[in-house]
C-alpha cells in the first residue's frame, strides 16, 4: 500500500518536472533593432584614447601621438595634446579659435634625427581637404590646393625628451578622425516669416561626456551658422539652456531653463520652436514624441508634447517624396501621370496649345501659378485656373533668367543690366503682378545665367560669371525691408572651358548641376554643406533640361524623351516631344 503511494508521488513529481518554465511555443512578434531596455538616445561611436607622450619617444612618434591626441575628443581643452608641447608652445596653442583643418597628412621625415640633435623638424605632406569652422560648418577646400605649403612641425629636446615647440595653430585631423569624431547633423531654423524651416547642416563634434542628443540640442540653441543666420532666426529666447534630456515613458523629455517659459505667451513662436526641436531631433529618435519641460516643471500653460509628424508643413523640402512632375510636351505644360495614361494638360493658359512660352516655373502653394519666359520680354504669369491669361509681372529690358517661384508666392528673376560686354545684373521679385528690385551686392558685377530659389525659400542657387567663367553660388535671401540677396558662397568654382548648363534643387540641401566641358555633359549632385557627395547618375544622352524633387530626378534629353532616374538607371516614360521638365518650386 505505502509502496504504491510512494510510486504515485514519484510519478506526480516527474510529471511536474517535465513541464518547462520557458515557453516553447507562442506567437511571432516583431523585434526592434535594439530590443531590450537600452537607451534609445545613445548611439554607438568610436573615440581615440589620447595618451601622454611615452618616455624616449622618437620625434615621429611624438608627432603621431600629438596628432592622435588632437583627434581625441575626451576633453575639450585638449589637455593631453598639450603635454606634447613645450611650455612656451603650450601657452600659445589655442586650437578652439581656429578652423579645424582636415588633411590627408603624413609625417614622414627624410632622415632619422641625429642622436645628439637638440632640434628637429618633421615635415607635413599631404593635401588639405576641408576646414571646419568653430560653428561646425564644413568648407571643402578647393581641389587645386594639392601642394599646400605646410609649415613643418619643429621639435626640441627638453630634458632628453622630444617636445613640439611649434605646432600647427589649428587642429589637424585626418579623414578618419573627421568621420569618427564628428557627426553631420541637420539643424532646423524657421525662416523670418516663421512659416517653414530651413536646414543648416553642420559638423558636430562628438562629446562623450555630454552625449550626442544633448550636444545636438545645445548646438541648436547656439543658433544658425554664419551666412544662413541672416535669412533665418533662432526662436529660442536668448539665454535658454538645456538642463537635461532623458527618455521617460517612451518619450524624450527635454528640460530647458526658465527663459523658454516666455514663449507661453507667444503661441506662434512656440510652434516654431516645437517644429525646430521635432525636426532637429529626427537625427536621434525620429519616432519618439518629445516632451518639453521648463526647470523640471511641465511647460507653463499646458504640457507640451509633440512629434515631427505634427509639423509636416514646416518641411524645408516642401514637396513630398517622389511627387508627380510636369513637363512641356509639344508646347503645352502637362502633368506626369501614372500607369501610361495620356498626360493631362494643366488648367489655364499654360495648358492650352500654341501659347508660345518657355522655361516655365510652377508654384502650387500658396496659389497655383505658372511663370514663364515668352517671346515678349518679361516674366509672364498665368494662374492654374480655367481660362486664365498670361500677365506680365516683371518687365525687364535686359535679358531675364528663367523665373523661379518661392514658397511665399513670389517669382524671382535676374535681369542683365548694362552693356552687353560688361558684367552686371539686377535681381527682381514679382509679387502679385508687381516687380520689386532686390539688392544683391554680390551679383551686381556679375552675369547671372540662372537664379533658382530653393524650396525652403531662403537659399538661392545662382549660375554666375564674375569674369573667370561660370560658377555656382549659393546665396541667402534676407527677407527684411525690401529684401536682400547676400551671403554668396561659391559651391562650384569656375573651371577653364566648362559651362554650366542648368541647376535644380533636389531637396533643401542638394543641388543638381549639369555641366558641359569639351562637349561632354556631366550631371553632378552637390550637397551645399559640402562633404559627402551622393552617387551621381551618369548621363547617356545629352540633356536639355533637368529638374529634381526629393528622391527623384527628371530630365528632358536631346531626343525629346522624358527621362526619370530611379536610383540605378534612367527610364524613359515618354519617348518624344518633351522640351522642358519641372517640379513645383525649386
Amino acid at each position: 500500500m505505502s509502496t504504491r503511494r510512494y510510486l504515485a508521488g514519484l510519478v506526480a513529481l516527474g510529471a511536474l518536472s517535465a513541464c518547462t518554465i520557458v515557453p516553447s511555443s507562442g506567437n511571432p512578434t516583431t523585434v526592434e533593432k535594439e530590443d531590450g531596455g537600452s537607451d534609445p538616445l545613445s548611439q554607438p561611436y568610436v573615440r581615440v584614447i589620447a595618451t601622454e607622450p611615452k618616455p624616449d619617444a622618437t620625434p615621429v612618434e611624438i608627432v603621431q601621438g600629438f596628432q592622435a591626441a588632437m583627434a581625441g575628443f575626451d576633453d575639450t581643452s585638449r589637455a593631453i595634446a598639450r603635454t606634447y608641447l613645450t611650455p612656451e608652445a603650450r601657452a600659445k596653442w589655442n586650437p578652439a579659435k581656429a578652423n579645424t583643418i582636415i588633411c590627408d597628412c603624413k609625417f614622414t621625415p627624410a632622415e632619422v634625427p641625429d642622436p645628439d640633435a637638440k632640434e628637429y623638424a618633421v615635415p607635413i605632406t599631404g593635401k588639405q581637404i576641408a576646414t571646419i569652422d568653430p560653428e561646425g560648418r564644413y568648407l571643402a577646400s578647393p581641389a587645386d590646393t594639392e601642394n599646400n605649403a605646410w609649415d613643418p612641425i619643429s621639435l626640441v629636446k627638453l630634458d632628453g625628451q622630444w617636445r613640439i615647440s611649434a605646432a600647427p595653430a589649428a587642429l589637424l585631423l585626418r579623414p578618419d578622425d573627421l568621420s569618427r569624431a564628428y557627426r553631420t547633423v541637420t539643424l532646423y531654423y524657421p525662416d523670418l516669416a516663421g512659416q517653414g524651416l530651413v536646414s543648416d547642416r553642420v559638423r558636430l563634434p562628438i562629446d562623450p561626456v555630454r552625449g550626442f542628443p544633448e550636444s545636438l540640442i545645445e548646438r541648436l540653441l547656439l543658433g544658425p551658422s554664419k551666412p544662413l543666420s541672416d535669412g533665418v532666426r533662432n526662436t529660442f529666447p536668448p539665454g535658454t539652456e538645456l538642463r537635461d534630456i532623458r527618455v521617460e515613458d517612451n518619450a524624450v523629455v527635454m528640460d530647458f531653463s526658465a527663459q523658454l517659459g516666455e514663449l507661453a505667451s507667444a503661441p506662434e513662436r512656440l510652434r516654431a520652436v516645437k517644429a525646430q526641436l521635432a525636426w532637429t531631433f529626427t537625427a536621434v529618435a525620429p519616432q519618439m514624441p518629445i516632451v518639453v519641460t521648463v526647470n523640471g516643471e511641465p511647460f507653463p500653460g499646458g504640457a507640451v508634447r509633440f512629434q515631427r509628424g505634427d509639423f509636416g508643413e514646416f518641411d524645408p523640402s516642401v514637396l513630398a517624396k517622389e511627387p508627380p512632375g510636369y513637363y512641356v510636351l509639344d508646347g503645352t505644360l502637362v502633368k506626369e501621370t501614372k500607369n501610361n495614361e495620356p498626360p493631362a494638360p494643366v488648367l489655364g493658359a499654360a495648358g492650352e496649345p500654341n501659347q508660345a512660352f518657355h522655361h516655365p516655373a510652377m508654384a502650387e502653394l500658396p496659389y497655383g501659378r505658372v511663370a514663364a519666359l515668352r517671346p515678349e520680354p518679361g516674366i509672364w504669369v498665368a494662374d492654374l485656373a480655367e481660362g486664365s491669361q498670361w500677365q506680365r509681372w516683371i518687365s525687364g529690358e535686359g535679358k531675364l533668367t528663367p523665373p523661379s517661384w518661392d514658397r511665399y508666392g513670389e517669382v524671382w528673376s535676374v535681369e542683365k543690366v548694362g552693356p552687353e560686354d560688361a558684367l552686371g545684373s539686377r535681381v527682381w521679385r514679382g509679387v502679385n503682378g508687381q516687380a520689386i528690385p532686390v539688392t544683391a551686392p554680390g551679383l551686381e558685377t556679375a552675369n547671372v545665367k540662372a537664379f533658382r530659389v530653393a524650396r525652403d525659400g531662403v537659399r538661392a542657387a545662382v549660375i554666375s560669371d564674375h569674369g573667370a567663367g561660370e560658377q555656382v553660388d549659393i546665396g541667402i535671401i534676407v527677407r527684411m525691408g525690401d529684401y536682400r540677396v547676400g551671403g554668396l558662397e561659391t559651391l562650384i568654382p569656375p573651371e577653364e572651358g566648362r559651362t554650366i548648363l542648368d541647376i535644380a534643387w533636389q531637396d533643401d540641401g542638394t543641388v543638381l548641376v549639369l555641366t558641359e566641358k569639351a562637349k561632354q555633359q556631366s550631371l553632378l549632385v552637390y550637397s551645399i554643406s559640402g562633404g559627402d557627395a551622393p552617387d551621381t547618375p551618369t548621363v547617356d544622352n545629352r540633356i536639355n533640361s533637368i529638374t529634381a524633387a526629393p528622391g527623384t530626378i527628371l530630365a528632358a534629353d536631346e531626343n525629346g524623351a522624358l527621362r526619370r532616374w530611379d536610383g540605378t538607371k534612367w527610364n524613359a516614360p515618354v519617348k518624344s516631344g518633351v522640351t522642358y521638365v519641372l517640379y513645383p518650386l525649386g
Binding site: 584614447i49 619617444a57 601621438g65 576633453d75 578618419d176 561626456v209 562633404g531
Partner: protein
C-alpha cells in the same frame, strides 16, 4: 494567563524615560544612563516574567525563532543559487560574444596600417586603418549594451574606445596577465568597476574580457567591458522580494502558532482560574465541559476533584464543629461539679490549721490545683468562644499608657518574686487608641508573665510607641530566647518550648493563643522575635481606629540594638512573616 501584552507595556518605560529626560535636563549623563539601564532592566524583568507565565507567548516565540532560522537558511540558499545561475549565464553569454567579436575583427588586423592604400577623397566614410575598421565594427555590434577598448602598447595613436567608457576601467592586473600570456586563443576575464568619462554616468559593476590580436603593427589588446547593472538591479529586487516574502512567511507562521496555541491555552486558562477560585474557598466552582477531547476530560476530572474536595472539607468542618462543641460542653458541664468541689475545698482550706500537717498540705495542694483547674477551664471556655465566633469587642478610646501601667502593676508581685525589674519606655503624650482595654490588658499581662517566666531575672523592657495610624507595645526579655522557627509556634495551643521544663507560674498553655485571638479581633498583629541567648521580644500592634487596616507598626519587631549589631556584621535579618490568621499558644509556664 495574562495576554501577551508585553510589547505594549514594554514601550512605556522608555517613553517615560524620555519624558523624564526632557523634564529634568540638568541630570547628568550618567544619571540618565543609569535611569535608562534601570528601566531596561525593569522591562527585561517584566518581559521575562511574561515569558515565564505565558505558554502562548513561549510557543509563538519559539515558532518565530525557528521559522526565522529556516526561512533565512532557505532564502540564502535560494538567493545564492539564483545569483550564481544568473551571473554565470550572463558571463558565459558575454564571453562567448566577446570571443566571437574578436575573431570576427581579427581579419582587419592582418594588414598593416601602412599598407592600406590611401583612399583620399572628401568622403565622410573614408576609413582606412585596420584599427579604425575594427573599432567601428565592434561599436556597431556593441551598441549601448557594452563597451570595447582597443589598446596597442607598441604603436602610438592606435588606442580606441567605444562610447564614453574610461580606459581606467580595464584593471591593471588583467592587462598584465593578458600581455604576459601572449596567446590569441586564451581570453582573460576579471570583474571590475566600469567608470565613465567625467562621471557622465554612474560607475557600474561589471566584468572585463580581454583578448589579444596579433597584427603587423604590434599586438592589439581588445577589451570588452560588460556592465552587470541590470543583473544587479534584478538581483536586488529579487532579494527585496525574498526578504518581504520571508518576513511575511515568518509572521504568518507566528500568527498560525498563536491561533493554534490559543485553542489549547484558553481552556487551560479557564481551568487555572477555576482552580484559583476553588483554592480561595469557593468550593462550588465548576468547569464547563464541552466536547469529548482531552481538555473536556480534564474539565470532568477537575469537577470530580472539586466535588470530592468539597465533600471532604464539609465532613472535616462538621467533625471540627462537633469537637469544639464537645470541648465547650465538657467545660460547661465541669463547672457545676467544680463549683461544688471548690466550695468544699475552700472549707477544707480554711480549716487546714486544724488538720495534721499531712492533711493540711493536701488541702493546700488541692486548693492550688483547683485554682489552676478553674483558670484552665475559663481559658478553655474563652477559646471555645473564639472558635464559635462569639467573642465581641467592648470598644472605647483609652490611653495606652494607662493600659500598660495597669498591666505592669498587676505583674509587679510576680516580678518581685522572680527578682525581675521592669524598664518602662513610655511616651510623654497620651497614646489614645480605640480598643477593648480589658482584652488588651490581658494580652499585656500574658506577655509580661511570659517574659518574667523566661527572663531569668534580668530586666524586662516594656516600650510603647505610636504613630498616626497605629500604636504598639513591645515586651522584651533577655532570657534564653527562641530557636529559629519557634517564632510562630509559640502561639500554638499547649505548645511548650521545652517539654521537660516545669510550669512554675502555672500558665494554662492557652495564654498566647488567646492573646493572638484578641489581637486579631482588634485587627492588630501579635508577633514574636527571638534569638538563642539574646532573649525574646513580643510586639503588639493595634490600629488607632478600630476597623482600619494596619499597614505598619511604630516599633520594630527586632530590638534596635540587635539589628544594629547585625548590620555591623553585614548580615541581613530575615524578615519575619506577620503572624496572622493562625492561633497558637506559647507555652509560658
Amino acid at each position: 494567563m495574562p495576554p501577551p501584552s508585553a510589547s505594549a507595556s514594554g514601550r512605556k518605560p522608555s517613553g517615560s524615560a524620555l519624558k523624564a529626560r526632557g523634564k529634568r535636563p540638568r541630570r547628568t549623563l550618567r544619571q540618565i544612563a543609569r535611569g535608562v539601564r534601570r528601566r531596561a532592566r525593569r522591562l527585561a524583568g517584566r518581559l521575562r516574567g511574561a515569558y515565564r507565565r505565558s505558554l502562548q507567548l513561549r510557543v509563538v516565540t519559539s515558532t518565530l525563532v525557528v521559522s526565522m532560522v529556516v526561512v533565512a537558511v532557505l532564502g540564502v540558499f535560494l538567493f545564492q543559487s539564483i545569483t550564481d545561475a544568473m551571473i554565470a549565464g550572463r558571463t558565459r553569454a558575454a564571453t562567448a560574444e566577446a570571443k566571437a567579436n574578436v575573431s570576427s575583427v581579427a581579419g582587419y588586423f592582418t594588414v598593416s596600417q601602412n599598407d592600406v592604400p590611401p583612399k583620399g577623397g572628401d568622403q565622410d566614410t573614408a576609413v582606412s586603418t585596420p584599427v579604425e575598421l575594427a573599432a567601428r565594427a565592434l561599436a556597431e555590434r556593441a551598441g549601448s549594451r557594452y563597451d570595447v577598448i582597443i589598446l596597442n602598447k607598441s604603436r602610438v595613436g592606435q588606442d580606441r574606445a567605444t562610447g564614453n567608457i574610461d580606459v581606467a576601467s580595464v584593471p591593471e592586473r588583467l592587462r598584465r596577465d593578458l600581455q604576459k600570456s601572449g596567446s590569441t586563443t586564451l581570453s582573460w576575464r576579471q570583474p571590475a568597476t566600469l567608470r565613465y568619462l567625467d562621471h557622465a554616468e554612474p560607475n557600474q559593476i561589471g566584468f572585463v574580457v580581454g583578448s589579444l590580436v596579433f597584427s603587423p603593427d604590434g599586438t592589439y589588446e581588445i577589451y570588452h567591458l560588460f556592465p552587470l547593472q541590470e543583473e544587479e538591479e534584478t538581483l536586488s529586487s529579487v532579494l527585496q522580494l525574498l526578504i518581504i516574502v520571508g518576513a511575511g512567511l515568518v509572521l504568518l507562521l507566528a500568527a498560525i502558532a498563536s491561533l493554534v496555541t490559543r485553542q489549547v491555552v484558553t481552556p487551560v486558562r479557564l481551568a487555572r482560574q477555576a482552580a484559583e477560585r476553588l483554592a480561595s474557598g469557593r468550593l462550588e466552582e465548576r468547569l464547563k465541559v464541552r466536547g469529548e477531547d482531552d481538555l473536556a476530560r480534564l474539565a470532568t476530572s477537575f469537577n470530580e476533584m472539586a466535588s470530592n474536595l468539597a465533600l471532604k472539607i464539609h465532613q472535616l468542618e462538621e467533625l471540627s464543629q462537633v469537637q469544639r462543641q464537645f470541648v465547650s460542653d465538657v467545660s460547661h458541664e465541669l463547672r457545676t461539679p467544680l463549683t461544688t468541689v471548690r466550695m468544699a475545698a475552700d472549707l477544707l482550706y480554711e480549716a487546714r490549721e486544724d488538720f495534721d500537717p499531712m492533711a493540711a498540705r493536701s488541702a493546700e495542694l488541692m486548693q492550688a490545683q483547683l485554682e489552676r483547674f478553674e483558670s484552665m477551664l475559663a481559658d478553655l471556655l474563652e477559646i471555645s468562644r473564639y472558635d464559635a465566633g462569639a467573642a465581641t469587642l467592648d470598644l472605647e478610646p483609652v490611653d495606652m499608657r494607662d493600659v500598660v501601667l495597669r498591666a505592669v502593676g498587676d505583674s509587679e508581685a510576680l516580678a518581685e518574686r522572680h527578682a525581675t525589674r521592669f524598664e518602662l519606655r513610655l511616651p510623654n503624650e497620651p497614646c489614645m487608641a480605640e480598643c477593648d482595654s480589658r482584652r488588651v490588658e490581658r494580652i499585656l499581662r500574658n506577655l509580661l508573665f511570659n517574659a518574667i517566666e523566661h527572663g531569668e531575672g534580668k530586666d524586662i523592657v516594656v516600650a510603647l510607641g505610636a504613630d498616626r495610624d497605629a500604636v504598639a507595645v513591645a515586651v522584651r526579655d533577655h532570657g534564653v530566647g527562641l530557636r529559629h522557627g519557634e517564632e510562630n509556634m509559640v502561639f500554638d495551643r499547649f505548645w511548650r518550648a521545652d517539654p521537660s521544663r516545669a510550669r512554675t507560674i502555672g500558665g494554662t498553655g492557652l495564654g498566647l493563643a488567646i492573646s493572638r485571638e484578641d489581637a486579631i479581633l482588634h485587627g492588630g498583629w501579635l508577633q514574636a522575635w527571638g534569638s538563642p541567648g539574646e532573649g525574646t521580644q513580643f510586639r503588639l500592634s493595634l490600629p488607632r481606629l478600630a476597623g482600619s487596616e494596619l499597614k505598619g507598626s511604630p516599633l520594630p519587631l527586632v530590638p534596635p540594638e540587635v539589628e544594629m549589631r547585625r548590620t555591623w556584621r553585614g548580615q541581613a535579618t530575615p524578615v519575619l512573616s506577620a503572624a496572622a490568621g493562625e492561633s497558637g499558644v506559647f507555652d509560658v509556664d
